[in-house]
């Protein structure tokens, strides 16, 4: 029961979980290799270590997709599972149910990184989310900015707020690295 509850919490309603691979895990053993594209939150330590990173990023990496126990779980790459791995401490997937999971035929180079020391690839343009460019002249964010060219498909203006890429259009749409942030944090700081 404890395990089941933990899985539900992780996936926000979808029965799915994430388990770190042991050294005996390998592609084909306990799952099928896939390429996942996920919105992730970067830890304080990694923000300090890698100044180019923002608090929220969109990254692509190989996973094992496993349905053997009746649920759905993802196994992270071996390099991420290694104790002391910086990358393992770096990222936290915001919502696994919102990840895109593709076959290795579609993303062979990603799957090939299963054993790579750094299996994460930054792919902001692959995020499902966009946000209007509401930066002012000084680069600061203006919450009540006048409408810019990033509207709903029907032309409606939803303000300087995140939305699904599939529902927005316009040249002034910025890649939003996530659609959900931790309470108290700002998406604008990660643009």
């Amino acid at each position: 029961m404890r395990r089941l509850l933990a899985l539900v919490v992780l996936a926000g309603g979808t029965v799915a979980g994430v388990y770190l691979a042991s050294t005996t895990d390998a592609p084909g053993a306990g799952g099928v290799l896939r390429a996942a594209t996920c919105n992730v939150r970067v830890s304080d330590e990694c923000l300090a270590e890698y100044p180019a990173l923002k608090r929220y990023e969109t990254v692509r990496f190989p996973v094992l997709r496993d349905v053997s126990d009746g649920g759905l779980s993802f196994v992270l790459p071996r390099a991420l599972a290694a104790q002391g791995s910086l990358a393992r401490e770096c990222i936290e997937v915001v919502d696994w149910s919102a990840c895109d999971v593709e076959t290795c035929a579609v993303r062979p180079s990603i799957c090939a990184d299963w054993d790579a020391g750094q299996p994460l690839t930054r792919v902001r343009s692959a995020s499902k989310f966009v946000i209007p460019d509401c930066r002012g002249a000084d680069g600061g964010w203006v919450d009540n900015h006048a409408p810019v060219a990033c509207t709903q498909l029907d032309g409606g203006w939803r303000g300087c707020n995140v939305g699904l890429r599939a529902e927005r259009t316009g040249a002034k749409c910025l890649d939003a690295p996530t659609g959900v942030v931790y309470a108290g944090e700002r998406l604008e700081d990660s643009l």
Partner: protein, 636 residues
Amino acid sequence: MRALALLVLVALTAEAALPPPGRFQRTNRRCVGGRSDRGLPCDSLAWFEFAPASGAGLPSAANLCDTLTAAEKVGNWWCLNGDGTMASGSQRTLSAAGSPTPSTQTDTYCPNGPSCGSRTSIRTSSTGRYEVAAGVTNQPSALTACALVSADALATTQTLISHSDGTNYTFTCATSGAATATCTARNTTPTASATGTVTLTAGAVHLVCGTYATSDGVPRIYLDGTAGTAGTALSPATLNSASVNWVAANTSAGTSPLVGRTLGSFVTDTQLDATAMARIARAVLADAPTGARGEALSETRASVQFCESSDGTGTLLPSNRLCVTRGGTTAAQGSFVQSALRTEEIDNAAWADVGTPTVTANSVVSPGGTLTADTIDDNDGAAFEGRSQSVTVTAAAAYTMSCYAKAGTLAKVRLSLDGTTGDTTTLSSSSWTRVSVTDASTSGVSVSAQVLVGTATTDTGTVYVWGCNVTPGSSVRPYIPATSAAVTTAAEVPYFTLTSAPALLSHEVTVDTPAAFATYAYFASFYSAGANRTEMYVGAASNLECDFIVGGVAYAGLSSGAIPTSTKGVRLSCSYDGTNVVACVNGSCNSTARSFTQFSGATRVYVGAAYTTGFEANPTPVIKGVKADPNGARFR
């Protein structure tokens, strides 16, 4: 010989005059409630208690000016109270200046503790500020400047406290963008400056302090008593000698005002150290409640949360601070996604018009003390008017929409979530009501959340609205603010640290119960290690389950009946008398024969939580108090 005998007698007499603690000098008495004091102080406390009736361990927030010791009032020190008066003995007097002059605002201020007292704070607007008379020049060799503030928003540079004439400054603390504050010192040139930085939370009450001393030339900054990133050393270290004034919540030129409120500020001509900074912060924020005997509270929650007190007002808490009010603490929250955007900006384009309402932004002080609540005016007697937002949810799941509302000219409001409506017809005009509606099963992944003025199309008038949330489940959860994106909360884990715990045989939790229970929702867990713990939680039949887990083996007992729902002050107890595990609900007990030896050395008491995440309660009971004692018959 006679002299020797006299000496021995004197020695014996002297020994007899010494204070106890010999066992024969001790006498047992009866304390209040009839319990033997066992020779110990008669305070009636159990071995462990959280939130006893006496309020022990629950601090009240102190007035900032009352926290300075005599030794800390140095040179031209001054302290400005939240009502604009100066603290007695201040060597400088700050006066209201500018136009419009600052206004004052009275709120309930209770970040933690039993006394949610009314506090007056200064709300700065436009050029309004408090400053000393012009012409005061003093360039101390050391200084400390503190401001107890809450910023409504942090998008622009806002002055908290400044030693400046508007052009030149010596030392200034200000917000420095979306989520940070800096304290900056400038030297004699005056071209060089150095800055220390901390991270702020908009809407939360923060104590921001800066210090400087020419002995090392390093500007330092403290947020809530914790040192932030210090600046680099100035060289030369002597401060700018331009004519400067101390100004609270603005600059003396009337630019960069604080958009928020100041609950107090002070300056003293000495560099207070980290210990003093921490002491003052704990006193004014009252953010370190303990067990009744001083047991330290630890809270892990990597996200902000609004902490509501019993009168509907509250305080936005930064990360890692447990919501403890005079009403107790809510059971630990699990992680959940709050889907509504712009929860405090009903005027934002994230919300669309329903009809043709007039929305006036930031027109009323919110439950959190910020000037961020909006007015919605419905002047159409033939149709509903209000605001609507499309929110992203999980399909075919229960969701609850909630808003804080207050009557303007109309005491009625309707919420509509995915077509399910909930009406409130008795809004107060003096206090906030949290209104809600639950959609039992969402129709898709995108649903409409509406807040409408009135409960019939013929209604017209104004209502005030703030803090609209859409959260999973059938009950209202703690309010979570959001701006441009949906937010997720981190699961929280609160616990007290115990030392030298005896074998605890009797445990009691008092709760205000919700309308329904989640099975396995925890009331408390007394933990030594994973294999040794005592747990109190909701059993499969909504009854109380008591698990005494010793060496990995569970010795369970169940109450005979279900825990009453929607009831205040329900007493739940789990005890072991050496023969039976006894589970009691409001004194009605059920015994289950068990044989084990209870462990000693519990190191933690989890309050409203298990020893690990994943067992949070939703709906959420309010934990009014927790007790544990080695006397197995103490709580029944």
